[in-house]
């Protein structure tokens, strides 16, 4: 019985950890949206900044990946 409760808690926690991915989605959308609004105002400068945009995406995506990692740890390591 005790093990079942722990298991249940781990599964619920894994599900809750997935809400962090929503935060990453908001962050990535924010980065790309702002890049696009800047790029449409000054299209000639946009080409050189694409790499910067991808770096920004990667950093904000990293935190969503940590929530995925927490979910994985709860599912398979706890």
């Amino acid at each position: 019985m005790e093990g079942d409760v722990v298991q249940m808690g781990a599964y619920i926690g894994a599900g809750l950890a997935c809400t962090g991915m929503g935060g990453a989605a908001v962050g990535v959308g924010h980065v790309v949206g702002n890049f696009l609004s800047g790029a449409l105002r000054n299209p000639s400068a946009a080409g050189g900044q694409t790499a910067t945009m991808f770096i920004g995406i990667a950093f904000s995506e990293a935190l969503g990946i940590f929530s995925f990692l927490v979910a994985l740890l709860l599912m398979f390591a706890v």
Binding site: G48, A51, F54, I55, I57, A58, A62, F66, F68, L69
Partner: protein, 261 residues
């Protein structure tokens, strides 16, 4: 009702599979445990990525004709793309490290694309594989920073443009974020590849529902369209994740070459 669904499950049994089945590491020949030297499906698909690399970059450019053939122009495009990325992001003095970054990019891009073949095994979907790549980048960059700058490399943690009372706090945050780098670097690639392929397999499990009952008339076409759409997205993701992995390597390299903010 319960018996009906049970029968349906029985009928479709040979089509039912687990979405994570595709990531199981199996021995290529025979059964049994996987040891250190066992030839597994990971070995096979890594070897195929290596063969594809040789085919593109060695055989494709062996003639070196002035008017490039199709394969040669693709190889030249790859070379130019990565070289420009290293130059733009990490600076001209990072060019001695260009071969390493090119190797990383080509290996990841080929592993990702080969993994998209139906029935293929995606080597980069395993954290073990990407962790090795990311740890090598981390160790290379750290050691190179210490060799180049000695203890001055620790200046990467000391942000001299910030107000003085803030600097110790920022230094702590910088140290944490520095050591989290290999984790996020490796799990980003593995997580993206694994998640995308698992989603495709989830929809693939819905596709044969037309064999079970009338509800399949609705579900089957929808899931086939969804597979097609997600597959197109995965082709994009396969390239973008290789690009992101490489560009982050360049960023870390730049930090090690110029540690003073």
């Amino acid at each position: 009702m319960a018996t009906e669904t049970h029968e349906g499950a029985e009928k479709g049994m040979e089509l039912v599979f687990h979405p994570m089945d595709q990531f199981i590491v199996k021995p290529l020949f025979g059964e049994g445990a996987v040891g250190v030297f066992t030839v597994t499906n990971v070995t096979l698909w890594m070897a195929l990525a290596l063969l594809a690399t040789i085919g593109l970059l060695v055989l494709g450019t062996s003639k070196r004709s002035t008017i490039p053939t199709r394969i040669q122009s693709v190889a030249e495009l790859c070379y130019g793309f990565v070289r420009k990325m290293v130059e733009d992001v990490a600076g001209k003095d990072a060019l001695p490290y260009f071969p390493y970054i090119m190797t990383l990019f080509i290996f990841i891009v080929f592993s990702n694309f080969l993994g998209l073949l139906p029935g293929a095994f995606t080597t980069t979907s395993h954290i073990a594989v990407t962790a090795v790549l990311a740890m090598l980048v981390f160790l290379t960059v750290t050691l190179m920073g210490f060799f180049k700058h000695g203890l001055g490399f620790l200046g990467v943690f000391w942000i001299s443009s910030a107000p003085l009372p803030l600097r110790p706090i920022l230094a702590l945050i910088e140290v944490i974020s520095y050591f989290v780098r290999p984790v996020s670097h490796s799990i980003r690639l593995a997580g993206n590849m694994m998640a995308g392929h698992a989603v495709i397999k989830v929809f693939a499990a819905f596709a044969p529902m037309i064999l079970i009952g009338w509800i399949g008339v609705l579900v089957t076409p929808l899931s086939i369209i969804a597979i097609t759409a997600i597959y197109a997205l995965e082709v994009l993701v396969a390239f973008i994740q290789a690009y992101v992995f490489t560009i982050l390597t360049c960023v870390y390299l730049k930090d090690a070459l110029h540690p003073h903010h």
